[in-house]
């Protein structure tokens, strides 16, 4: 999700090529080629520049519509409707070949799903399988304490900073709460999946969202070669 304005100019993009299974887009205005996943201009007049990310979320429609009751949904293009992916497309995609070299030291399969976070040049990949097992992972990326949270649909993943008003909090999932709620150990405040405090001493406060990218391991590694990988049950780094 990219801001299309660059240097005061509004750019219009087209799919133009593929680069190791991540696509390249071209803007009509300068003809520059931009890598989709990184937003970096790799060929053309603006080579070396980067697009600005627009903060986005990847989640189930059920949770999104609950949080945005007056939101709007993109309609399908009727002309190409039969070309859209079937509901189980991710299973088929997982079996597709990978073209970039696989390191024998890799603990993860190339097409393993990971949730990637990068803050100030530090990158961490959290395997989807680990997130599904733990539901809430307390961690840090570089100097930023954060936590990863799996929604009650067992698919939507969000990350939030743990610092509130200068204090770093520890969170855990509230038992038997529907929809999903979490509680912080320090104040006992209850928070919802949007990171909003709905009950308790910090009621009304909003946790700061951290941008995450749901990606295949091979693609995350290609663009973040120094990434570390979260291991299930790893102790919290402070």
């Amino acid at each position: 999700m990219w801001e299309s304005e660059f240097d005061g100019k509004k750019l219009k993009f087209h799919l133009v090529a593929i680069n190791n299974q991540n696509f390249i887009m071209q803007d009509e205005e300068t003809g520059t080629w931009w890598q989709q996943v990184s937003g970096e201009a790799i060929q053309g007049p603006l080579k070396g520049k980067r697009l600005t990310q627009a903060f986005h979320d990847e989640l189930s429609f059920a949770i999104w519509k609950r949080e945005h009751p007056s939101g709007r949904v993109l309609r399908p293009d009727e002309r190409v409707r039969q070309k859209y992916e079937p509901a189980n497309w991710e299973e088929d995609a997982a079996k597709q070949p990978v073209v970039t070299p696989v390191s024998p030291n890799d603990k993860l399969q190339p097409r393993a799903l990971v949730v990637g976070i990068e803050i100030n040049g530090k990158a961490v990949a959290y395997p989807q399988s680990a997130i599904e097992k733990q539901r809430l992972i307390l961690h840090s990326v570089g100097a930023t304490p954060l936590f990863i949270l799996l929604g009650e649909d067992n698919k939507s993943v969000r990350a939030f900073e743990r610092e509130v008003d200068g204090r770093t909090l520890e969170f855990f999932v509230k038992a038997d709460a529907t929809p999903l709620q979490i509680v912080d150990a320090e104040t006992g405040t209850t928070w919802n999946f949007s990171g909003k405090a709905i009950n308790g001493p910090l009621v009304g406060k909003q946790l700061k969202r951290v941008a995450v990218l749901k990606d295949y391991w091979f693609d995350w590694k290609l663009y973040h070669p120094d990434t570390s990988v979260y291991i299930l049950g790893e102790s919290l780094k402070q």
């Binding site: 999700m1 990219w2 801001e3 299309s4 304005e5 509004k10 750019l11 219009k12 993009f13 087209h14 799919l15 133009v16 090529a17 593929i18 680069n19 190791n20 299974q21 696509f23 887009m25 003809g31 080629w33 989709q36 790799i42 060929q43 053309g44 627009a54 903060f55 986005h56 979320d57 990847e58 989640l59 189930s60 429609f61 059920a62 999104w64 519509k65 945005h68 007056s70 939101g71 709007r72 949904v73 993109l74 309609r75 399908p76 293009d77 002309r79 190409v80 070309k83 859209y84 992916e85 079937p86 509901a87 497309w89 597709q96 070949p97 073209v99 970039t100 649909d153 698919k155 939507s156």
Partner: protein
């Protein structure tokens, strides 16, 4: 003397257009150099093929007079191949495989019967304007140029 030159001109243009197609296959690896050459060839092939065509036609005119029908037929066939590759050099064939969505249209949640609760969406909210792009749709289109909350954005997947 002239005919080999005509063949060479036509063949060069075919190669200029064909190289990026073969470099950019989805399930083959790409190198940085490969991407760079694809960019250059695709950017300059419309111009270079047009120049080559002008040379080609000029030589054809020279050769046409007094040539036997076999030579004239060969020239005509070469010209047909040449023109089709020139036309191809100006196409964005990636958009043939994945048609773009130039005029996105939206439904309010109540009307969104084409999507179920468990389907994933790519969501963005700017200035209070919340938009959801169903992943199954955007996985096909790959990118959508849009305006959300008054800001131009490009949704990509």
């Amino acid at each position: 003397m002239i005919l080999p030159i005509l063949i060479l001109l036509a063949a060069t243009s075919v190669i200029i257009v064909a190289i990026p197609v073969f470099v950019n296959m989805p399930f083959k690896p790409q190198t940085v150099a490969g991407v760079e050459w694809s960019y250059r060839l695709r950017r300059f092939s419309p111009l270079t093929t047009a120049v080559a065509l002008i040379l080609f036609l000029a030589l054809c005119v020279r050769l046409w007079q007094g040539s036997p029908w076999q030579i004239r037929l060969t020239m005509t066939l070469l010209l047909a191949v040449f023109i089709s590759f020139i036309w191809f050099s100006r196409q964005n064939y990636f958009e043939w495989a994945f048609r773009p969505l130039p005029n996105p249209d939206y439904a309010a949640i109540a009307e969104a019967t084409f999507i179920s609760g468990s389907d994933m969406v790519l969501a963005v909210e700017i200035n209070g304007d919340a938009v959801a792009y169903p992943v199954r749709h955007i996985a096909y289109h790959h990118l959508i140029n849009d305006l959300v909350g008054g800001r131009p954005i490009t949704a990509t997947y």
